[in-house]
Amino acid sequence: MQDVMMGEPQARGRFGEYGGRYAPESLVEACRQVEETFREAWADPGFRAELARLLALHAGRPTPLTPALRLSEELGVRLYLKREDLAHTGSHKINNVLGQALLATRMGRRRLIAETGAGQHGVATATAAALLGLEATVFMGERDIERQALNVVRMRLLGAEVVPVTTGSRTLKDATSEAMRHWVSATADSHYCVGSVIGPDPYPWMVREFQRVIGDEAREQYSGVPDHVVACVGGGSNAAGTFAGFADTPARLVGVEAEGGAGAARGRPGVLHGCRSLFLQDDDGQIVEAHSIAAGLDYPGVGPEHAHLRDLGRARYVTVTDDEAARAVVQLARTEGIVPALESAHALAWVIRAARDGELPAGSTVLMTLSGRGDKDVSTLKELL
């Protein structure tokens, strides 16, 4: 039984009815090895110390918790931003990748495989690979290669191979499928570094544990407990890491999805990419393509633990539109001097709307994770100026 909120999953990687290891037989043994190695490593003070060292000296942790003073005044709430945009490589993705890259070396793997949407996970993977002397192969949808061109250049600079994915919607879902297909033929020497709290057991749990540094730091930095804790949700890794720090408090947890990629808010139970969770599907059970201005939220599902938190009512999942997110970018830029990633701007857009609608009463405290910085989005954003 999972009696600790956001603790270890139940037997067979379950979060309530979700999760599990629905992997092709050829990947089951590899998943088992990842789980075994992660369990050992996570209980090993030496591994923890090495990860903490890399997070501090390479990634620049801890990231600050910044009170957004001018924006708070405009909104009538007290907003604090957990600044993952200031982590090295420009997003929270580096937290998970450093953990998995260390695991890969522990398992004797020489290469990292990754999928990426916004390119942030790909850049983080390429970075960790360079740092630890590994190779990196990153699968990225053709459409994302166009709209996140900056990150493609960064990955190549860092020595990673970027493989364009031309199937389906040519976005994150298809990049993930392609990475899994590739992993089947490469388990002997490669580790699949999944970028969010999705995939077969142990990934949803392991990635959340590597991301909980966000929530743990924020809990310590914020004196007391905020009324609301908010984060954007693609697969849900920055949200899971943030929520993990506050799951045992009365804080209300809010996950913000893209209107066109709302797996948690609108999905139905199903199985994709190795786990049972909530996915957008049509009447025949085919997965529906997501559509979002934010490449990192352009995914038709959500991690299994979020599906469970939703069912339990412990977290709530809401959606914002492309327009709302784009306007939130500009508002944060001009009040706080911070250009957020389009993904992170979704979380902010909900805070702005909820403050205006009175859903966040005047004076309430909100801690929001700003998952990444907006440099990668300039080509999309310049249309708005």
Partner: protein, 271 residues
């Protein structure tokens, strides 16, 4: 130990009988609804000497399929393929005298629920099922329902499967054991992978259930070699590439006949 012939369905019964008669088993694959008259391929398969026929129910995200079957799935879905429609097409067919085995991803099974899904298969005359993203440790809810409905749920074994797990797969599989010949996705290969022989040997040590080798088998030579190790072969991408390139039922029958001959020759060869 339970008697393996108890609680097995029509597919296993049929395959055991033919295997025991010394025949190399042959299961060609077609993606349902891939062309307007797709069921004509089934007749061609039967005429070419198939011992079972695998019918793919296409899924939007076939994560264990290579480009050919991905393309076939996309083509079928663009033509409006769905589980319902494919099973409706099958219900209208005369008996081909060859058991039909559906293959699909688990999301489509869950969509209707295992009970309704298996019942619908049976109503359409489908007696077997393959779900490549459903490993044995997650298979309980479907395996129980399949057994109750009389559908043989065949499980896959991989070169990466460790020993005790391999025995469990062989024990719980029904119809046959699907031996995945190589660490990879579906798709034509230039040679039979070395892992195929080894895996088949390991499976044989733990079961007498029919063992079919699949993934990558595309030529008569490969079929002949596969037959030396296994009870038979599954041929998917090599068929579907031809279908996608415009091969009609007659062309496909001619191709499959070359594989059938290769399997038969290998059977006649002294061992």
């Amino acid at each position: 130990m339970t008697n393996p012939t108890l609680a097995v369905g029509a597919v296993e019964h049929h395959l055991r009988e033919r295997r025991d008669a010394g025949r190399g088993l042959f299961m060609p694959y077609v993606t349902g609804c891939v062309t307007p008259n797709w069921t004509d391929y089934l007749r061609a398969f039967a005429d070419a000497g198939a011992d079972a026929i695998e019918i793919g129910l296409p899924f939007s995200d076939p994560t264990l399929d290579g480009v050919t079957i991905q393309q076939a799935s996309d083509t079928a879905l663009a033509r409006g393929a769905s589980t319902r429609r494919i099973l409706a097409d099958l219900s209208g067919l005369p008996d081909l005298g060859v058991p039909l085995v559906a293959s699909t991803y688990y999301n489509l099974v869950l969509h209707d629920g295992p009970e309704a899904f298996c019942a619908a298969l049976r109503r359409a005359g489908v007696d077997g099922l393959i779900v490549p993203d459903l490993p044995v440790h997650e298979a309980d809810e479907l395996a129980d329902m399949a057994a109750a409905t009389g559908v043989d749920l065949a499980l896959l074994a991989s070169p990466a499967t460790p020993e005790p797990r391999l025995a469990e797969i062989a024990d719980r599989s029904r119809g046959f054991v699907y031996a995945v010949s190589l660490m990879g996705t579906t798709g034509e290969q230039t040679a039979l992978a070395a892992s195929a022989a080894q895996l088949t040997r390991r499976i044989r040590r733990v079961t007498d259930r029919p063992v079919l080798l699949g993934f990558g088998i595309s030529t008569p030579d490969q079929a002949r070699e596969a037959r030396r190790h296994a009870d038979g072969v599954v041929v998917g991408a090599a068929v579907m590439r031809r279908v996608l390139d415009g091969a009609g039922p007659d062309d496909v029958r001619a191709f499959l006949a070359t594989l059938r001959r290769a399997l038969d020759q290998e059977c006649d060869a002294p061992r």
